[in-house]
Symmetry: C3
Subunit: 345 residues, 3 copies
């Protein structure tokens, strides 16, 4: 693909957008700035030490921020370039253009087991060894990769993609455009047991798991259904691998939950909440809009909107940073304290 | 289902149990107290602020604790109710009655691959694309949902339920009534390697994994077999999602292990131990009967029976709470200490 | 198997190696020292309290360290024994001999779906319900247990073993002798999204995941592919269950990553790094050769070669042990400090 052909794929491009074709190189792929070679596209973000990063770059073409000096340098290096406010977003668009995804064709593989009582929309692809039970519906254009298992009483919206080994249990309700990655499980029974004299008695989990539009669930992640009511993941929320979401959790729109996060039953997250890796949220905790928890934080109580927290139990990030710095001096502090006490006696 | 028909499903109900039929409403389902609507059942536990919780309740029928004032209030609100010592347990029974589970019929799906050398008990259901290898036994009445894989040398007791994508490796021994949830793995090779001059050399893992009666293993959880001897999960122990249990671990009866708990090889848990989410237990640690670890605790040494621990390394919960409160004041303490030292000089 | 027949399977055995046949017992299996019974082999390592451990041992034969007193004691107890510098390594070899693994026969199960455009090497076993898509290659002698799914554009080297439910996504490159355990996922899309005014926009993940020779990936673990470039796991690295490795991570050779470790995108590990259970490594962190992190450590910055770190944020292990000991005394310290301040006023 020629650089000029790629440019027209970029959403931000306008007639006035600065660019330099430099012979309009043929592009065969993309790479990180320090690894790019001839025939490859790369990008540079405002955060980089720009001029230094650009020097010696082996790419043929670049997406760069709107910086006249940088543009001149790229031209001097013989590179094709376009200057955009959001080079990273443009790079995402360019990758889609350079590495087009092959959509599997519509149709149900001969080895798949689709119950006559299931409703399969037009254009759906069901791969080898897929299973769809009676009473479930797969929306138009959805893709089920090999080995997906859909129990009964499941609704999958239009244009969803379910990867190999994903399992959807009864009560799962996926809106349009959701992605469930390999071996993830949605709608599994919440961990609810009543203590009795003869041991734990299962509390039946009969509620729903609702994934709103555009939710993405990472590999091996699990989202449980509650005894009654629903577990709900807000539209556009992205969930990484090996995340556990307990029964009755509700998240807002556009949250991002990194790998190995665990959210206990009944917790509430606002919109745009970001939880870094291995964060834990206790049952019934409440996290406000756009709050952020750094990795490994343990959240028990309420986190206010916009707050950044860290540590276990989680406290404001700035305080935690200062406390952690002092933690490393505890042996010295203890010794000083003993000396002061001895002096005082 | 009429309220009066539901009542006879409750194990605690006796002739003398206080109740009020209020027209014996038809019940179509159940809901949490603050979400219940006409035609729904809900419940109220002694822990709630009872009268306040009840006010405005939209349910048609309630399971409530034996509290005369509360009973009167419910009657005044026109609700059907029954008063029981354990409303939560009764709610579990009611959910089973209101949402009866459909047991898949006995039989082996045409697409399943069951080796002639496997022994399949009467009444067993094996779903689509299931696999049972030679030398394994499936006990009477067990249910294998689609896509379950049973390697050779596996024994599954009577009345077990294995969900989609569950995998049982050689050496797995499941007693009656066990449940293995979707994509969980039992009997996988323990993580044992011997360091050699040419790198890690695998220690063969040839032992057993024994799940005693009524054990439940959550989605995506993994329970490893040891090199020799056995990994053993005590009867009635319930394991949540994404839990890892290393080779040679032994737990007592009736433990509850919450999501993302990790137990390293050789650790020992007594009866009734409760580990909250993301707890880690080091290899060879020993935890006494009915001990509790709060979420994210890291347990290295021994925990006495009945103890409640927190933190990392785990210490008694009350001490940890006090220490954590002081942790947040470390910057102030450091400053005070510096001032005192300066005064003393 | 006779003890004498077993001996010749041990790599360390030489003519001069001390041994005692004691009637050359027939061995039917192996067990831990305190559980071994007649007909079983066990072993004793230099680390044990040797004489005490040996007393009362019920085994028929032992692998022991080269210690003349111990040898005499074993002979006096009527046990067969051989004395070796590395009894644990010999025990691993003995387990392979006593419990030989049955290799599934070459061939493709009738229920497997192998695209004509896939290249399957000689001697490959593909189990029931396996799937191999067009454009992928399976190296000679590799074993795919039931239900493995190989997407397109995957290369599996010679002599690999993929367990039930494992999934390999496009861009996965496995060198010879790799093992992927049940329900693990390799080559899944990295968690990359660009924030936009209308929500998270997926950054396409088009790079490779390279597993070098002899890498082992535990059950349910996930290794993501990057947007560009590669994620690379060094030769001989062993990964336990439920580990997450983010996009673009590079590890050296011979690392060991215990269960539930999480490594965020772009982190770099040297050779021989050992991460204990539930350790977290932040994106772009760098860990030097042979560094060790104890369980639950959270690593943000750089760890020097050979360093042992603990805690969160991770600090040198010895310092952390001392600080943790003082942590438990924080309430006392705070009280002492208040008293000193009051005295000073």
């Amino acid at each position: 693909m020629r650089f000029s052909d790629l440019l027209i794929q970029l959403g931000e491009l306008q007639e006035s957008t600065p660019r330099h074709l430099a012979g309009d190189p043929e592009l065969s792929g993309a790479a990180a700035l320090d690894q790019a070679a001839t025939g490859q596209l790369s990008f540079l973000e405002p955060g980089h030490a720009l001029a230094a990063a650009l020097a010696g770059c082996g790419a043929s073409a670049l997406l760069i921020p709107p910086d006249p000096e940088l543009q001149q340098q790229a031209t001097d290096q013989g590179l094709a370039w376009v200057a955009l406010a959001n080079p990273r977003l443009a790079f995402a668009e360019a990758l889609d253009a350079l590495y087009p995804r092959q959509r599997p064709p519509a149709g149900i593989h001969a080895s798949a087991v689709v119950d006559p009582g299931a409703a399969i929309g037009p254009g759906v692809h069901i791969g080898a060894h897929g299973v769809v039970a009676a009473g479930s519906r797969i929306g138009a254009g959805s893709i089920l990769h090999p080995g997906v298992v859909i129990y009964g009483d499941v609704e999958v919206g239009e244009g969803c993609e379910l990867h190999a080994g994903a399992v959807l249990h009864p009560g799962s309700r996926l809106a349009a455009g959701c992605v469930v990655h390999s071996n993830a499980v949605v709608g599994s029974e919440g961990f609810g047991f009543v203590p009795t004299a003869s041991g734990w008695r299962k509390m039946p989990q009969t509620g729903l798991v609702v994934l709103e539009e555009g939710v993405e669930v990472g590999c091996g992640s699990t989202i449980d259904r509650p005894s009654v009511g629903e577990t709900r993941i807000g539209a556009g929320t992205k969930i990484d691998n090996l995340v556990h979401i307990g029964h009755g959790v509700v998240t807002g729109r556009g949250c991002a939950l990194a790998a190995q996060v665990g959210i206990a039953g009944g917790a509430r997250l606002g919109n745009g909440v970001i939880l870094a890796g291995q964060v834990g949220v206790a049952n019934r905790a409440t996290i406000g809009d756009r709050a952020i928890a750094s990795s490994k934080s343990g959240i028990h109580g309420d986190v206010a909107a916009g707050e950044v927290v860290s540590g276990y139990p989680a406290i404001p990030n700035r305080l935690w940073l200062r406390c952690s710095a002092v933690f490393n001096k505890l042996p010295d502090m203890a010794r000083s304290l003993r000396q002061l006490k001895n002096q005082g006696e």
